[in-house]
Amino acid sequence: MSEPILEIRDLQKSFNALKATDGVSLDLKPGQIHALIGPNGAGKSTLIHQIAGSLKADSGTIRFLGQDIGGLDMAARARLGLARSFQISSLAQEFSALRNVMLAVQAKEGSSFRFFRQVTSDRSLIDPAMAMLERVGLAHRANAPAAELSHGERRQLEIAIALALQPKAFLFDEPMAGMGPEGSKQLTTFLDRLRHEAPMLLVEHDMDAVFALADRISVLVYGRIIASGTVDEIRRDPEVRRAYLGEAA
């Protein structure tokens, strides 16, 4: 069972003269949390976008569950089992937290072209959605419109939506940003358990969380992976210390 779930080879992406992704290759294996770290502007979000399908790579391959998904759009990749959260949260703002998750439940069931049964009384949507909100600790805000949630609550909601998709892999882009120390700690515990449901590519700035969670860390600088290895290997890597950790250590 060590075939990678997600396999990225020699990915390239330029914005005009700027190489945002410069020959990136990485694997995500079952049960793994693979952390992606690097300074601001290194191209982490751009990489997540290309994997999720919201940006098209210039070249290179992305294989997911053994299938080349480079030609699929975002929705098709999500249906295959890639669930993501956004660095800048992206929700249906007018819908309540619960309806946002219910949307994911109906998407998972593949039942969005039904025109009569009313969702507000549909237990087969409400109950699983509510269960996901409970898991992330957001049940008490179920009926609040997404637009009225705090920054941290929106993050939790994004994760509840990703959970509801029962995906084969998670792509999380800085899920802890702006959560505060207490929230980060809780989310770290939560993600630690989540790895048993599906492996995770985790972009994160919070180094305590990364060192606690990651099975593998890749360091991205100017669009290139300058080092990739276990937590200890990355901590010891002189180039990483100079290019990235130096400023923090």
């Binding site: 975002m74 929705a75 007018e94 949307l103 994911a104 025109f115």
Partner: protein
């Protein structure tokens, strides 16, 4: 019952009661005026599905309105002249059949128009839908077989089993029931899984795609359904006026349908009804005083866009509540 529901019921009751009273007092003109309200409201209910729920600013819905109208006019003309349409298929004067054809034609034409237009967004979407509608408009003008610029007259209003449609009141009732059925369908769709997806597509298409629902497909289905309802309204409008002409296809008509929705309240169930009531009242009352009544309509629209985004219903019943 929410405040908005109460207002909706009141509007429906008013819209039904006024023509009944007018008919009782021997004033058929007002029955016909009320029928105009109902049919325009129905056309706008169609647009409201795309524009209100889906956020699709179609500036080409006159195309579907006019196609529905021409379906009625052409079928009736062939039946009247006892000439087959093509391949031996006869025309018809049966409203239910005509409606089916109008709905089918509008839907079939909306499919490619939507499939192309929905690849764009914003101003481009507005312009492409407008361009398609104008193409159909000029086609109708330059096609002499069905009246060209002069349009087509329907000499005898088409028939409905068991009712005398030549009388204003039965025809009003037919249209009223169709409108209520369309409103019920709108409400059901709005609250369904599809409605959730459609509203999510309006609020945030990326979010919808990220959970695996293709926004394009959702919008396309909504666009086609929307066109079908507006096409049905076109058939009723042709029978109301006993006439169909290119003006039903013109961009003025598309604009008028948008205006109705903005007046009444975009995305609200009864927005098109309130909008059509206000519009036809203004047209009748102000239009009787001055030919420049549209100037005042413009002022009212300006006021609504600046101060009351929810339209008339928004003013009366506050923000809609999503749960």
């Amino acid at each position: 019952m929410t405040r908005e529901t109460a207002i909706n019921l009141l509007l429906a009751a008013l819209l039904l009661a006024l023509p009944l009273i007018a008919a009782g007092m021997g004033e058929p003109f007002y029955v016909t005026l009320a029928t105009r309200v109902v049919v325009l409201a129905l056309a706008a209910v169609g647009l409201n599905l795309a524009l209100g729920l889906g956020g699709l600013l179609s500036f080409g819905h006159a195309a579907f309105f006019g196609l529905g109208g021409y379906a009625a006019g052409i079928l009736a003309t062939h039946a009247f002249n006892a000439e087959p349409l093509f391949a031996g298929i006869p025309g018809t004067t049966s409203m239910p059949l005509i409606w089916l054809v109008a709905i089918a034609v509008a839907g079939l034409v909306a499919l490619p128009i939507g499939a192309i237009s929905l690849r764009t967004t914003g101003v481009y979407f507005i312009m492409i839908t407008l361009a398609f509608a104008q193409m159909i408009y000029y086609f109708a003008i330059s096609w002499p077989a069905y009246g060209g610029e002069d349009g087509l007259s329907i000499y005898v209003r088409n028939s409905f089993p068991g009712l005398n449609t030549a009388q204003p009141l039965p025809y009003f009732l037919i249209c009223f029931v169709v409108l209520m059925a369309a409103l019920l369908a709108f409400r059901l769709i709005e609250g369904s899984r599809f409605g959730s997806a459609l509203q999510a597509a309006r609020q945030n298409g990326v979010r919808l795609a990220a959970v695996g629902i293709p926004p394009f497909k959702v919008r396309l289905v909504a666009f086609v359904l929307s066109a079908m309802i507006t096409g049905l309204a076109g058939a009723l409008y042709a029978d109301l006026n006993r006439f169909v002409g290119p003006s039903m296809l013109s961009w003025h008509m598309s604009g008028e349908l948008m205006v109705l929705i903005i007046l009444g309240g975009k995305g609200r169930l009864f927005g098109p009804v309130a909008g059509a009531m206000i519009f036809v009242c203004l047209e009748y009352v102000l239009g009787g005083i001055t030919e420049r009544w549209q100037f005042f309509l413009g002022l009212i629209l300006l006021g609504i866009v600046l101060f009351a985004r929810g339209g008339f219903l928004g003013l009366l019943s506050g923000k809609p509540r999503h749960v």
